[in-house]
Symmetry: C2
Subunit: 213 residues, 2 copies
């Protein structure tokens, strides 16, 4: 397998975690988002929507969208599972993942921040306030959702799931923008439990071949 990705992309990071949790090897193909390599003509063959990550299967299929890729990895390499066995539990895990992937992260994408600055003439401080607002508001919602679920070591249950694949990159992302993580005990305990595992260490941005400090 090949993974087109960028060390700092949260969505790429999600897939790297899933691959590491499954113990799968892959070829790392960097796409430099800040340099705009995802918009180059050469990349349109890989991703018509000009996004990373893209997983290229051994059969040559090109699969986009991080959560779709992770579900594919989980279906084709079931052990260890990234979703629980019961339909209701699976729904809870997917909802936690989507709370991050659909409610927080899309607002803080590079292209959105660029639009704020370039088109709406938002200054640096207001841009950072926007960023922190959506991360903080979203993580507070995540914490409240966790509080309703049974006590657990990770976001859901005692092993990492799709929800943790989304949570950890979001926390890394928030750390870069000095988001306040106070008052999020279950969320941050799940993050810490993840980061104690070699798979999450191996997948983190600073472990990537294209990492830049």
């Amino acid at each position: 397998m090949k993974l087109y990705n960028y060390f700092r992309s949260s969505a790429s990071f999600r897939v790297r975690i899933a691959l590491a949790l499954k113990g799968l090897e892959y070829e790392y193909l960097p796409v430099h988002l800040v340099k705009g390599e995802h918009k180059a003509d050469a990349f349109a063959r890989v991703s018509p929507s000009k996004l990373v990550p893209v997983l290229e299967t051994d059969g040559g299929e090109l699969l986009g969208q991080s959560m779709a890729i992770i579900e594919y990895i989980d279906e084709t390499h079931p052990q260890p599972p990234l979703l629980p066995g019961e339909a209701v539990e699976r729904a809870h895990v997917r909802a936690l993942a989507q709370l991050i992937a659909c409610e927080i992260h899309p607002l803080n994408n590079l292209r959105v921040l660029k639009y704020l600055v370039r088109d709406l003439k938002v200054d640096e401080e207001a841009k950072n306030t926007w960023y922190r607002h959506w991360v903080r508001e979203g993580l507070e919602a995540f914490e409240r959702e966790l509080a309703r679920l049974p006590a657990s070591k990770f976001s859901f249950g005692d092993a990492p799931t799709l929800a943790d694949c989304c949570l950890v990159p979001q926390i890394f992302n928030g750390q870069r923008f000095d988001v306040n993580f106070d008052g999020l005990p279950r969320t941050m305990a799940a993050f810490d439990a993840c980061m104690a595992l070699p798979a999450f260490q191996k997948a983190q941005p600073s472990s990537c071949p294209d990492f830049e400090a």
Copy 2:
């Protein structure tokens, strides 16, 4: 089953489509987003993250996030399937759905538009330009993704899938803001194929008990 939802909410509309395609009956519980009913204390029990839709199962489980709910419905009521049988095909359908649910719709949520106006002091015209920008850009990406897939009546294949559950509400949403849909032949053909089906007609905003013109 009970569905907490709002006639104009795109995410609610996605779930209504899935329920209608499965032929499932449910109790419709309106939550008026514009009046802020989702933020009321009484609703916190239903949705700690203060979002619609929420599906309450017959067992009393409260499930949030539209795509997680649809996967739950598909797992517990498999016919007709909303995802294809092969893992690669499932990945394509989920990616199309997520291209809308993670790349387009989050930027045009009510709370985001409110932030633009209230906090960033964006005027009406710039707000509408923002809205149309993300819908148009996202649907162009959707069209390019479709162009790479085999010819099909719906977004993927010859029956509606999770991708169509996301596409149709996004088009309705864009119509309200006068988005230009020119040059999106496969996308709009899939939309038209969906709207020719009774399930999509039944699920649309104007068919909802809480509809307001």
